[in-house]
Amino acid sequence: MSEAANHVLLIEDNPGDADLVRLRLVEAKPTFDVSCVNRLSDGLTSLQEKPPMLVLLDLNLPDSQGADTFRKVLEKAPGVPVVILSGQDDEALAVKALHQGAQDYLVKGSFTSAGLERVMRYAVERQALLRSLEMSRKQQLDFKNQFLSHVSHELRTPLTCIHQFVSILLDGLAGEVSMEQRDHLRTILKSAHQLGAMVRDLLEATRAESGKIRIEPRCASMMDLVQTAVAMLQAAAREKKVGLEIRGDAAIPFVHGDPDRILEVLINLIDNGIKFTPAGGSITLQVSLVPTDPEFVYVSVADTGCGIEPAAKSLIFERMYQHPNSVDSSRKGLGLGLFIAKQLIELHRGRIWVVSDLGHGSTFSFTLPLYSLPKLLLPVITQAGVLRDALVLVKVELKSGSIPPRGNWKEVGPHCHELLQRCVFLDKDLVLPAMTASGSTETFFVVASTDMARAPIMTTRIREQLEKLPELKANCDLSVSVRAVSLPHTAADRSLEERVAEVAKRVTEMTRIALGESKLATN
């Protein structure tokens, strides 16, 4: 047995009480090795230098009183069992410490050596049990996550094999296929796709649970994302004879979010809509702004399907909830889609909810934070409460010569953003978040506190930096263009907020024109 097995730390400032406890300890077990200190600070030092099997603790000491005393001991040595030594009059305080994790308490002067020994033994045993319980819980969780990640990986190889050989047959690479055979092969392929989606969800849900999903927010066009999602699922909707349309007449602003993840959520919601809406029904997507909640955009996906039982409404965003009577004759999924969607939206600091009329349809809605240029600009383009004199907008465009772009195109955006940050003065220039652009162009804008005469210094610096992009040297046939335009002055008789908003508005207009997104202008 280790030394600690007999070491008891007694923290007690009353010499009489300390002697009595020490006496009882020796009576109970002569081998107890007792250290006695009369101040909390000395007790904490001793805890660190020579961890005991147990602490006997008086809560009221010269340098610490009450619940605080226990809290500090717990912080220093979370695994060591603590038994409180309480006076006749402050038993309530000891009971409070029990709730905070103390193992037991003894009222001073009213315990025998046998009682003391028993309380201590039980305290040590309970603490050990607690620790092993906690450890096995953590091990179980780790094991589950590892297992799921392993399984989803291992499932992919046979799945790929099925996928590959069926498509080889379907594509006629192994000889002629009859119409009937083709039909059967399509069914196999569809099932393989479903299986693939489940494997992906499994991994994603595991990640969501262990907090490992990452998002990379940028400035993204919500309308583009909605249109992309609808285009991707239009064929599936048509096949089921379900209408799928977008409604929205206002100019839809940009959101600050990860476009891939937002698309994932949209696809999930539309896919569910198709699944639960009978032929002849319809799914309508709407993107709107709500005056009472000006910092968010509202997106809704409404179907005319079977609706959701009121009792189920709170459950559908949970893991593995499955609709009990899906109208779709095809099989169910794993019930992870909405769970993942909820995690993704919440990572963006948005909300997701459902309103449903049983038998008539459901509307799923979520919010995403709007991309707010004035908020980003304010600290940069003002100094001591005054708007800076001259402002310039620099446009940086990276264009790939081939479509689809060659090389590691996905890396270009983040790399470029990083390099641009190094070209500017962070206290007076602002690199705007990346814009979602067409597949072979990455566009960045910088709002710089400089005038047109001095702008070339900055554009040259940017060009020099960007020419160091590894992608430019390697296999990406990239071209870089850097251009600066002056931002017009704003009326000086208006408030600072109004003037910043005005600058933001102009920047927005100019960036949209530069991106050729005239479709986003108000109509």
């Binding site: 799945l159 094999c161 590959q164 693939g196």
Partner: protein
């Protein structure tokens, strides 16, 4: 008709066969290797125009292969497309940084894979001299 040679590196015989059928149907010549060690040897011997590389391989995994290819002047300019069952999170960025040109998770979309292969292969002189 193109005569580009593609080296397939995968330890699963069925997946090698499927990929070979698919690539041959698209007029590519194929050679294959079954582990990391023989992948390097095959790259030397065959001088392929492109390598399709699995990551989970016996005798030196895909990252070891990528590293060896990058460090060798005779091999570093052969484009590598990674095709793996492994999770893109964590592996995609790492593979691209290690010199891969593209990353696909299995099962990959065939049309997309073929597009990237076409875009990645260096144009042969006979092909680029043809009017488009």
């Amino acid at each position: 008709m193109s005569n580009e040679k593609i080296l397939i590196v995968d330890d699963d015989p069925d997946l090698r066969k499927a990929l070979r059928l698919r690539l041959r149907a698209n007029q590519y010549n194929t050679v294959h290797a079954v582990d990391g060690y023989s992948a390097i040897a095959a790259a030397y011997k065959e001088q392929p125009n492109l390598i399709i590389l699995d990551l989970g391989l016996p005798a030196g995994d895909g990252f070891v292969v990528l590293d060896r290819l990058q460090r060798d002047d005779k091999l570093s300019n052969i484009p590598v497309i990674v095709l793996t069952a492994r999770d893109p999170q964590g592996n995609e960025q790492r593979a691209l940084r290690a010199g891969a040109t593209a990353f696909f998770q299995k099962p990959a979309d065939n049309a997309e894979l073929m597009d990237v292969i076409r875009a990645t292969l260096p144009k042969s002189p006979s092909e680029s001299s043809l009017p488009s």
